[in-house]
Amino acid sequence: MDFTVKDLKRGESGLVQKVNGQGAIRRRLFDMGITPGATITMRKAAPLGDPVEITVRGYQLSIRKSEANSVVVAKNEV
C-alpha cells in the first residue's frame, strides 16, 4: 500500500510522488497544483470526518478522502 495524503496526520506534510486515478479528476488535481514535487500539508478533517483541508502551493484546498487517497506522498520527517 502506498502512503497517500489521506494517511497524513494533522500538521504533517509530504512531497507528492505521483497521482493515481484517471481522467477529469486526476487532471483537476494537477491543475490545482498537486503535481510531483509539490509539498502538501494536512490541515484538518471536516467536523464530520470528510473532506479534508490541505495546504498546497500556499493556498487552502479541500478534497474528499477518496481523492486524497489517490495522491501518493513521501512523508517529510520533522
Binding site: 510531483p36 514535487g37 470528510d50 493556498y59
Partner: protein, 674 residues
Amino acid sequence: MSTLRFALAGNPNSGKTTLFNELTKSTAHVGNWPGVTIDRREGTFKDGNIEAEIIDLPGIYSLSPYTPEEVIARNYIVEENPDVIINIVDVTNLERNLYLTTQLLEMDCPMVVALNMCDQLEKHNDFIDRIGLEKALGVPVVRISALQSHGIDKLMKKAVLAAAVNRKSSSVLRNTVLEKPIEEIEMRLLEQGAKHPLHKAIKIIEGDAHVQADDNLRKLKDDLIADVDDIEALIADLRYKHITKHYSPFLRKSLKPGELTTSEKVDKIITNKYLGIPIFVVIMYLIFHLTFGENLFFIEGLPSPGVLLQSGAELLIENIGDLTTDFLIATGASEWTYSLLVNGIIGGVGAVLSFVPQIILVFFFLSVLEDSGYIARAAFIMDRLLKRFGLSGRSFMPLLMGFGCSVPSILATRTLDSERDRRLTMILIPYMSCGAKMPIYALFATALFKQHSDIAVFGMYMLGIAVAVVSGVILKNTVFKDSKTPFIMELPDYHRPRARNLLLHVWEKLKGYIIKAGTIILVSTVFIWLLANFNFKLQMVEQNSIDSILGTIGNVIKHFFTPLGFVGKADGWKPVMAILTGFIAKEAVVSTLGVLYAGGAAGDALLQTIASNFTSASALSFMAFNLLSVPCMAAVSALFAEMKSAKWAWFSVAFWVASAWVASFLVYTFAGLF
C-alpha cells in the same frame, strides 16, 4: 476605428467579477454561451478616448478539455480573436494563478497580466517585483486592486497599447524535453495554416480530443512522445516547475514558513472539529430567522425584517387591488373585467411579487457569505452529509432556504458549480416544506388531530426531508448516474464584503427574477383565471365552481386521486380543485376549501366540515400530496428560468407529481392500519 474587445480570463476567486463590475459599471448584460447554459457576461468600458467591450470568460483554473467552462474560454479565444486577453492573477495565490497564465501565453493573442489584490500584499508587508515578473513573462504586468479601484486606468491603457501590436505566442514548455515534439507538430500545423499553432500543438500532444488533428498528425504525435508514459502529468509538472523556479522568486513574503496567515487563524475556529458545526448552525439559523421568522428573537409579535417587508409588500398590493376595484366600480366596468384584473392579475402577480423582499434578503445574506469566503467553509462542513444522496456540501444552503420559500432557493442554486448539482438540488428544494404550506397543515391538524396537531405538522416536515433523501438516492443512481462531480474546492482567504459589490449581486439576481418570472407568471395567471371562471362554452360561471373548466377537469382527474383516499365522496372534486388552485399559491388551498366546503366561512364552521369530510388517514394523505407535488407557480417559473432546459423542467414537474402520488398513497395505506 472599431471597438476593441478585451477578454477577461482568470481563476475563480481571483476577483474577476469585481474587476468586471468595476470596468463595465452598469452596462453589463447577461446571456448564455452558445450551446451551454453558463452565463455569458459582456459590458462596455468607457473612459475618455478609450472604449472597449469587455467579455467576462468563465472563471477557470486551466484550459483542460474536461469542464464546459474551460472549453468555452479557450474556444472563445481561438475562434473569436479578442484584441487582448486581460489575465487577472490573484497575487496572494501566485503559483496556482500563473498556471493558467502559462497556458494563455501559448495563444497568439496580445495579453496583459493584472496582478490583483495588491492591497492585501502591502498589508502583509509582502513585495512583488513587477518589472522582474514582466520581463520573465514577456507581457505587460500591471498592479491593481479591483476592490479599491486602484490601477484600473493604467491597466486599460496598457491593454489598448498591447492591442496595437501583434504578439507571438510563447511557452514555458520550450527548453524542456518536450521542445522537439512541440516544434515538429507546430511546424505541421503552420503548414496547414492553423491559427494558434503553438497552443494547438501542445493540446494535441496532451491528447486533447477537442482539438482537430488528422490521423497523420496524431500518429506523428504518438511516435514523438512514445517514451513518455504519462504526458498529462509531465506537462502539468513542467509548468509548475517553471513557475516555482522562474516566477515565484519575484514575490517576497515576510511571513516565515510555518507561520499562520490571518485567514488560517480564523479557519482554526470556524472549521474547528467541535465549533465548526455549532457556528454553522447559528449562522444558518440567523439567516433563516431574519428572513422568515414571525417572532424576531422570540419576542411575540415582533416580525423579522423579511416578514415585515413582505407584509408591507402584501399591503401595497392589496391597496393597489382596492384602488383598482374602486376605479372599476366608478367607471362601471363589467364583472369579468373586474374579476380578471383584481382576482386574476393583481392577485396572481401580486402573490409572486410579494416574495421580492425576502428574495432580496436571502440574496443579501448569500452574497455576504459568498464574498466573505464562508460559503466554501459551509460546503466543507456539510459535504459529508450530502455526499450520500448525490450532492456536494454546496447544496446545503439552497436546500435549507427551501423551508422558507422555494423561489429564492431555486435562484440560489446558481452558487453551485456544476450543472448536475444545480439540477438535482432544484428538484429536491420543493420537498423542503415552505412557509406557505403551513396554513394547510394548520387547518387539517387543528380539525383532525387536536392535541397531537404539532406532531402531525412536524411529521409533514420530516416526510418532506425523507422524500428528498429517497429521491436524491434514486436520481443519483438513475438519471444522474453517469456524471460524478468530484469535490475539489478551493477555500479562499476570508475577505470583508464590500457594500457596492453586495448591492450589485443582489440587484443582478433580483432583476432576472422579476423579468423572467414576471412574464411567465402574468401569462399563466390569466390562463388559470380563465379556467377557473369560464365553462367550456366560454360562459362565465361562479369562480372555482364545478361548472368551471377547472372544476370539470378536477371532477375528471379526481379518479387519479382515488387510491389516495381523499376523493371518495360525491364532492370529491373539491379537494382536487383545492390542489389545482394551490398552483397559484399554496395558501390558496385553504381559501378554496373554505369557499367550497363552508361557503367562504372560516374558523369553527370550516374546521367542522373538514373534520366530517376527511379521516385522519385521508387528511394526512391530502397534506402529503400538497407538500410533495408541484410547488406554486412562482417556484415553477423560477425553475423553468433556472433549469434553462424545458426538458429538465418538465422532468422535474413529472417527478414531483409521481413522488407525491406514491408517498401519499403510502401514507394513506400506512395510516389506515391504525
